[in-house]
Assembly symmetry: C2
């Protein structure tokens, strides 16, 4: 049998790990096709992963960590001896370090920090303390700053002498500061290049540059990126001293991660990200935690049916339509949730504008409720040969569609206003309410029209 | 009544538009708090928007377009006179131009292109033709390239002489090419700075640099960004000639947009993005298109109930549990869908690995099915005082949970393999199948145990 190069590489990896040859292993991953590294590692068992990262040169290991999915890298590093993990962490950039440390249990993070040089540990600890979605959590501390009266030659000399250290810095700007360390200006690398050697930075810098505080939220950073073409924004503390830089790419990446997170949460992956390489019990129990809440909410909603059992016994055909009404209202409501989530994320609607959304959804609810109600009502009436039956089913779906879009549109705004994560809670709350209402409408309309239905 | 600065700004905007003072309007948006511009514009009616962009200086208008949400900007530009739209488009960078042009109807795009300079139009037309999720669709054509034997001084001279033109270029690399225009190397701006003026680019360049083709998909570009720290990747054609550059930030932004799109699609916003400022009929009909498909699928699934009406008439209490079984199975299945979607996006699973996912989900399905089945079964049995009833309900939920996670986990992979968008189709297909199976299990178990249930 012919093996493709891909299968070939896969087969080899466990052997290479067995041979424990750091150089070969490092080279192996460098020559892998794009996107294969994370995949290949995820096919190793926990022991093989641990061996692999113990064998690899720390710089190669760090390079591999950068190619892995965040959660995958965090799980793997957490399994390593703290000393090994620290050596790998040391090779990462400050923002990458902070992201990983923030995802460990506090005692695991401390064990690794204890193995780092005190200065590096202090800096990493500081960054890891900020939430992931503010400038402090996104910033990196690899930047270059010089006194404002330095000459261009001095800066170029410094760059030349420490070329190796700075090779990892993706430098686009030189920052200038006054004697007290306060940010005074920004010099794009290009301006530096176009200036004569004796020029002082003060002459070429953009003075009083735009800067953000460590608490600036992701939404505002996104907006800054849209408003300005800059590749990085300086972060200053309350005294105006430079503490780090936030890169444009870090903002975009955080935005992508938030969108991914919202997707997972909306689908009930809420206890943290799941990969299928994680232990079965953890995957299962995390999913169950959310399902258990849901089953309770479902029972509450279905109790409306239990309450109307006599009506249902008289008109059993209605039982066919209850799940349809429940599901369709959920669908209509979820569309409105999605639009609200999107508008919130884009800053096009504010949590206080519930009434505006309410009225905007009312039009959609009236039209779509009417169309869907007519469709299902006609089908139900025709099937039972009883137009009153169709009227009960159609009216219930029509009214409940309106209810669903009104609630679906408003609920993310209301939850956000109360500080509850709308990606997490909107779905279950919406379906509970729409199920309750849908069952109530259908069964109470049927109760009212009972003589016409059982004629 | 005191007005906050925010409300104040809002009130003013229509007046400013009425006064038609381009300079004041331009300044007004510059001083707006972060995130307010897109929001303020979305509160204007269509006529006011059109007036605003007609009045504004094209550069200011372009700056505002960059702060707007893509779809919002596209709708607005589409309403403008092609001449006005072209002048604004001219001020945008090439990748921004292409994104907007791609979102117009072909004839509208052509009308605008006809107003641009022929060369610019040809370049924009070329970029707009690539799909948005490959290197060609993400690249920009603002880059600097020089013959490989140019001296550093010559490059610096060029930069100095065209400082104004290049001010908009976010240059980090200078590309070198041979006589036939083929990409030969990359010179980071920093290397240029550290070299003497007479040095030839060939001596400082990174030779045979990494480059991608215009067809390179987003996933591979993401992986390149993870693997290398570069801020941009050159894009070459089949002859090896440089045709553009893909910036790291553009890759991250596209990734965020894909995640957003998947979120919207999964919730049934499928005909294109929706903003509440769009016309009611369009919003309503787009949502309806998806709902109509869903109602048909729902009717198909519920027909199983209709078929078992006699059983249901004998055990009406079962009608209380059918929506619970349907909804809970949907939840369990959607969790598995979300994990598969995520692993697909991260490249941790390949569409061909259905069996692997199947077995990974089986464990979760067995555990969670058992727990949920026990919970609901005990409740049902206790409520009806009949443990056979509980057994019917519990077994149906347990088995259907297993079915749901198996299908939920596999379906995105299978759809992807057949070239169907899994974000779009996974949800409706999953719930149809799980509803069908759930109703079937519950009702056929009940039929089988009927004598025990109606005792």
């Amino acid at each position: 049998m012919q093996t493709t190069p891909l299968e070939h590489s896969w087969d080899e990896l466990p052997h290479l790990i067995g041979a424990a040859d750091a150089a070969t292993l490092g080279g192996f991953f460098d020559t892998m096709p794009l996107g294969e590294a994370a995949h290949a590692i995820s096919r190793l068992d926990v022991d093989q992963q641990r061996r692999l990262f113990e064998i690899l040169d720390p710089a190669d290991a760090a390079h591999l960590v950068e190619q892995m999915v965040g959660i995958q890298a965090a799980e793997m590093l957490d399994d390593l001896d703290p000393g090994v993990a620290a050596r790998i962490l040391h090779e990462l950039e400050s923002d990458g370090q902070a992201d990983l440390l923030a995802s460990f249990e506090p005692q695991d993070a401390e064990a690794i920090l204890a193995e780092l040089a005190p200065e590096e540990a202090a800096s990493a600890r500081l960054l890891a303390e900020y939430p992931a979605d503010v400038a402090g959590g996104l910033m990196s501390t690899e930047y270059l700053s010089f006194p404002v009266d330095s000459t261009v030659d001095r800066v170029i000399d410094e760059l030349r002498h420490h070329a190796k250290t700075y090779a990892d810095y993706t430098i686009q700007y030189i920052y200038t500061k006054d004697r007290k360390g306060r940010l005074r200006g920004v010099v794009p690398l290009r301006s530096l290049m176009l200036s004569s050697g004796q020029t002082q930075l003060a002459e070429v810098m953009i003075a009083n540059p735009l800067s953000v505080s460590a608490e600036t939220p992701l939404e505002d950073l996104e907006d800054l990126c849209n408003r300005h073409g800059y590749l990085a924004f300086p972060v200053t503390d309350s005294k105006g001293c430079l503490v780090g830089i936030v890169r444009r790419a870090a903002v975009q990446e955080a935005r992508a991660e938030r969108a991914d997170g919202d997707y997972l949460k909306a689908f009930g992956i809420v206890g943290g990200e799941e990969l299928r390489t994680m232990p079965l019990v953890r995957r299962s129990s995390r999913r169950l935690a959310w399902l258990t809440v849901n089953i309770i909410l479902n029972v509450v909603a279905a109790s409306v049916i239990a309450y109307h059992q006599e009506t249902l016994a008289a008109v059993v055909a209605l039982a066919v339509f209850l799940p349809i009404i429940s599901d369709m209202s959920g669908c209509s409501g979820n569309q409105a949730v999605a639009v609200s989530m999107r508008e919130l994320a884009l800053g096009l609607v504010k949590p206080s504008e519930v009434m505006r959304v309410f009225f905007k959804e009312m039009g959609v609810g009236l039209i779509n409720g009417t169309v869907l109600g007519l469709l299902l009502g006609l089908l139900a009436g025709w099937w039972q040969g009883n137009m009153y039956f169709g009227l009960v089913v159609g009216a219930a779906l029509a009214i409940n569609t309106l209810v669903a879009v009104l609630i679906g549109g408003s609920i993310p705004l209301v939850l956000k206003r109360f500080g509850i994560d709308p990606a997490l809670a909107s779905g279950p709350m919406l379906t509970t309410i729409t199920d309750l209402c849908g069952f109530f409408f259908a069964l109470s309309f049927a109760s009212a029209a009972l003589p016409r239905l059982v004629g």
